[in-house]
């Protein structure tokens, strides 16, 4: 029944045709009969009647066009015909569809990645468009930091336009179930977390209001679906059972739904605990009542109909009030609401520049693919010119022909769209490869929702405009009389269509050039970063970490353990030295920052002098290879009973002591005075791109931490040392396991990841683009040669030397390539600035990158020209003239 309804217009259409046909036949025959009666011979009468009637086909077409929804029938018939045409030349169709699939698929994949990591980063979370990141700001300081718990509560109380403030902080723990221990990552959240995000646990409940209040008052946990399956085998009676987390039994109150991975781009959370448990999970102390302790990376959910500007205004007003009420902690402090994709707190920050560039790159690839298909269509149009002229001769208008040709393009693009979406589907997990391995499951995935599908469909339509329009316009512009005659074969490169095809090649060469230059610049940046000095040794130092907090140690026990372990490690064969640092340079753990004061340093109004610092053991400087330029090192004597001391870096000495030697001077940190005993050379602390900034060190013994990084200077490789380290740790306590062992080089490499990934993408796509362009160039040249066989044969017959023919053909190719490269050069000069800070110590106009792109393109395109030219040279004049 359904099928009949769908097909009826087609049948009706046949009936309509028949009835027009019959009506017109009746007319002509009646007329002929009348003419015959008036005395004309029968044959003559028939002929005259037909002439008087005029062009039957044209009028039939006009009659059909009066029908409603005629365009639907016309479109269906074009579609039908288009598919038949594509089936008839499978080679062409496959090639065109392949090119377009690459172009559309690359775009769809990148759209999916952007949607999945930047715009809709949290699966299952409802209405992510009304969700904004809560980022703390400090006046006069670039960048964002966290928020304190008391501030968050005040904001929640006073902001009427904001539905909820959600607190969250990434935490780690060691899960031991039975005899297996495993590291797990989770999140410390406010009690409204699940409700505000619209997540309903599949089992049990989320957190109840008030469960985030009171110091360590509510040891409850919601576990992820994956953890429930893996560790508890989907046991429904798990609710109400207890699980040890950081050596405290927590009651399992809920299981999160399948497919909910939490709210952190890059990680899949395995558990959630309420904020009241902060002290248990955070090595740096109790912070729920400390307005100066900023540790929350939260979200806000706007009320319906509230714009982010309105919310921002309200929140700024509250922040000003807090600044007035609590000047010592909140001076210069504000809050900025950022869209999810600008979140400074998770991997989206690293993805943003890469994805920006990748978007541009895949668009280039699309254009190049379209140029190739355009060329293919032009070639095929030439082969089809007879069919097209016949259609025109029997009355099809130019508009009708364009419609027909564009419908065929639509068929191509639609098939490619399906293929492209499949490509995107396969590629959606590729992003995970971009993140370095880390503790805990990684979640980073492309999302193919309706927005991505719609955008991909739009890209396919754009591609039709790009590849289909020019051939359609060009092809429909036929001169019937000359086309119906045998096409005369012209001289190489003088026909308009051939010029058009050369222009397309030009575009491809130019775009490939830009992509190759971009790839070169980024890969060179990676090289430069690798080879530049971070201010400490890159070789011979291994890094690991030990978290005693997760194992339930208090500070005193942790201190003893650390002392004992360091002695054992230093005694190992092949170990030159070993040291602790609370934060290892370039790691994901962030440095603490503290307000500082220095005698005689004039503080500008609104300035809150502060500096990042690290707590280290005495051998830190010698192990990592950071030289001291003045004063003395920490010693074992600098412990909790000795007067507090600090070592500052050169930048800090320059800023606060105006370059005078600060050794022996006083430094106030968080209200506590300490003596500066040494000056260390500047180093890089978080990443290679940072500029020197004030930084200081304090002895770990005076500022204990249960969670430390361990640095080992040794000539052995990580694989050899890791089991030895684990053995030493286990000997002290079988329940503690060290983190994985990395070399400093590996640690640094994680920082160049963005450049590496962007460079790799550009390299792959640039290579792909070059391949497409080379194929296109080869096609154009071969075609030109095959079309001018007669001319070439004639030239040979008239005495042209083969080398002359070679030069003739090559010169045409070289002209196109040369112009293309020149255009690409200009375009690259203008666009490489877009890389911005991704370029490290490399000028956007770096001659090496431009030079290598030039060499590669020239070599590839010359090869593409040479083969056809070689064939031209061997033209057999006899055969050419006879054919």
């Amino acid at each position: 029944m359904q099928l009949r309804v769908f097909l009826e217009p087609l049948f009706r259409r046949d009936r309509l045709d028949q009835s027009i046909e019959e009506e017109m036949r009746f007319h002509i025959e009646e007329r002929a009969a009348d003419l015959h009666r008036s005395g004309l011979p029968a044959e003559e009468a028939k002929r005259k009647a037909q002439i008087e009637f005029g062009g039957q086909e044209t009028y039939k077409e006009q009659c059909r066009n009066t029908r409603p929804f005629q365009w639907v029938y016309a479109f269906l018939s074009d579609l039908h015909f288009g598919m038949r045409m594509l089936r008839r030349s499978p080679g062409f169709s496959m090639l065109a569809i392949l090119c377009l699939t690459i172009g559309i698929g690359a775009n769809a994949a990148v759209f999916g990645w952007i949607e999945g990591t930047l715009f809709r980063p949290y699966p299952l979370v409802a209405h992510q468009e009304t969700l904004f990141v809560l980022a703390g700001t400090a006046r006069g300081v670039n960048g964002y930091d966290d928020t304190s718990w008391p501030d968050l509560l005040d904001f929640q109380r006073n902001c009427k336009l904001i539905d909820s403030f959600v607190a969250e902080k990434i935490v780690g723990t060691t899960l031991s179930i039975g005899d297996r221990a495993q590291r797990a990552v989770g999140s410390l959240v406010s009690a409204n977390y699940f409700a505000a995000l619209g997540i309903r646990p599949v089992l049990g409940r989320g957190f109840e209001p008030g469960e985030d209040m009171g110091r360590n008052a509510h040891p409850v946990v919601v576990i992820s679906y994956q953890l429930w399956q893996d560790r508890f085998h989907g046991d429904r009676s798990v609710i109400g059972k207890t699980q040890m987390l950081n050596s405290l039994p927590h009651t399992i109150v809920g299981v999160a739904p399948k497919g909910f991975y939490g709210t952190f781009v890059g990680y899949a959370w395995q558990f959630w605990v309420p904020a009241s448990m902060q002290e248990r999970f955070d090595s740096s102390g109790y912070k729920l009542e400390d307005r100066g302790a900023r540790w929350i990376e939260g979200f806000v959910r706007l009320k319906p109909g509230v714009s982010v500007e309105q919310a921002q205004q309200e929140i700024a007003a509250v922040a000003r009030r807090l600044e007035r009420d609590f000047p010592e902690t909140n001076r210069g402090r504000g809050i900025k609401l950022l869209p999810l994709w600008q979140s400074p707190f998770n991997a989206s920050q690293a993805m943003l520049p890469t994805l920006k560039i990748t978007t541009l790159v895949v668009f280039f690839v699309l254009i190049i693919a379209c140029a190739n298909v355009s060329n293919l269509l032009l070639v095929r149009a030439f082969a089809r010119r007879h069919e097209l002229t016949v259609r025109m001769a029997v009355g099809a208008g130019r508009g009708r022909l364009i419609k027909q040709l564009l419908t065929e393009s639509l068929v191509l693009a639609s098939i490619a769209l399906v293929g492209g979406i499949l490509v995107a589907h396969w590629c959606r997990n590729l992003l995970v490869l971009l993140i370095p391995p880390r503790a805990g499951p990684i979640f980073m995935k492309g999302e193919l929702d309706w927005r991505v599908l719609a955008l991909s469909a739009a890209v396919s339509l754009i591609s039709i405009l790009l590849f289909g329009t020019i051939p359609a316009l060009q092809t429909s512009n036929l001169d019937i009389s000359s086309a119906l005659k045998c096409e005369s074969v012209g001289v190489i490169g003088t026909r308009g269509k051939s010029k058009l095809r050369s222009a397309l090649i030009l575009l491809q060469v130019a775009l490939s050039f830009v992509l190759l230059v971009g790839a070169g610049l980024l890969l060179e940046s990676v090289q430069r970063i690798r080879n530049s000095s971070p201010g400490f040794s890159r070789d011979g130092v291994l890094i690991t970490a030990i978290n005693l907090l997760a194992a339930g140690y208090d500070l005193q026990r942790a201190k003893n353990f650390q002392e004992e372990l360091l002695n054992r490690v230093q005694g190992l064969a092949g170990v030159e030295s070993a040291a602790y640092a609370r934060v290892v340079p370039f790691s994901y753990v962030s440095y603490s920052s503290a307000p500082v004061a220095v005698d005689g340093y004039q503080v500008a109004p609104d300035e809150q002098p502060s500096a990042d610092y690290d707590e280290v053991s005495p051998a830190f400087f010698s192990t990592l290879g950071i030289p001291l330029v003045s004063g003395r090192n920490f010693t074992r004597a600098d412990d909790e009973n000795a007067p507090p001391v600090a070592i500052v870096n050169e930048a800090m000495a320059a800023q606060y002591w105006r370059g005078a030697d600060p050794v022996g001077m006083r430094l106030q940190v968080k209200g506590r005075w300490m003596q500066v005993i040494g000056v260390a050379k500047n180093a890089k602390y978080r990443n290679m791109l940072e500029t020197p900034k004030p930084f200081f060190y304090m002895p770990l013994r005076q500022n204990s931490s249960a969670q430390v990084g361990l640095l080992v200077r040794t000539r052995q490789d990580p694989a050899t040392i890791a089991p030895v380290l684990a053995r030493e740790v286990h000997a002290l306590d079988p329940d503690v396991a060290p983190y994985g062992v990395l070399t400093v080089r590996e640690q640094l490499a994680r920082q160049t990841l963005t450049q590496q990934v962007a460079g790799t993408f550009l390299g792959i796509f640039g290579g792909l683009a070059l391949l497409l362009a080379t194929i296109g160039l080869y096609g154009v040249m071969s075609y030109a040669v095959s079309q001018s066989t007669r001319e070439l044969g004639l030239r040979v017959a008239l005495g042209a030397a083969p080398s002359h023919l070679l030069r003739l053909v090559m010169s045409r190719g070289v002209a196109v390539i040369g112009l293309g490269i020149a255009m690409g050069f200009a375009a690259a000069l203008g666009t490489t600035r877009l890389f911005g800070y991704l370029l490290y110590d490399v000028s956007p106009h770096d001659p090496l990158s431009f030079g290598s792109a030039l060499v590669i393109i020239t070599a590839a395109s010359m090869a593409a020209c040479f083969l056809p030219a070689w064939r031209a040279m061997r033209t057999d004049p006899l055969r050419a003239l006879r054919d």
Binding site: E23, M24, H27, R31, F53, G54, C63, R67
Partner: protein
């Protein structure tokens, strides 16, 4: 041979409606009737009649049904609908007003010079 473009736009539609106002006809019959009532003043390419007939049918001015011709052949007969009659009346009035106005203007000019 005159082309549809040579007669005033819209005139062909009016001629067809007028021809059919005297009774149903098949396509060829419409042509003969037009030739007859216009005394050959309006010559159109005969095929051009059909798109016009289809258009008018589509606009609800004509009905079409198959019947038998004088010599017992199957033919499609067109007839005026109520809407077609109204349209013809209106068009006739408009036309008369227009020609009267133009005639008045032209005659007035002639008298003054």
């Amino acid at each position: 041979m005159a082309n549809t473009a040579d007669i005033l736009p819209g005139t062909l539609d009016m001629l067809i409606l007028k021809a059919l106002s005297l009774g149903s006809l098949h396509g060829y019959g419409v042509l003969l009737r037009i030739q007859q009532i216009s005394a050959g003043a309006f010559e159109v390419e005969q095929g051009a009649l059909y798109p016009a007939l289809y258009r008018l049918e589509q606009r609800g001015m004509l009905t079409a049904k198959w019947g038998l011709s004088e010599n017992n052949r199957r033919a499609k007969y067109y007839g005026l609908t109520h809407r077609g009659e109204k349209h013809l009346r209106q068009q006739t009035e408009n036309w008369n007003r227009l020609t009267l106005a133009i005639a008045t203007v032209l005659n007035a000019g002639a008298e003054e010079t």
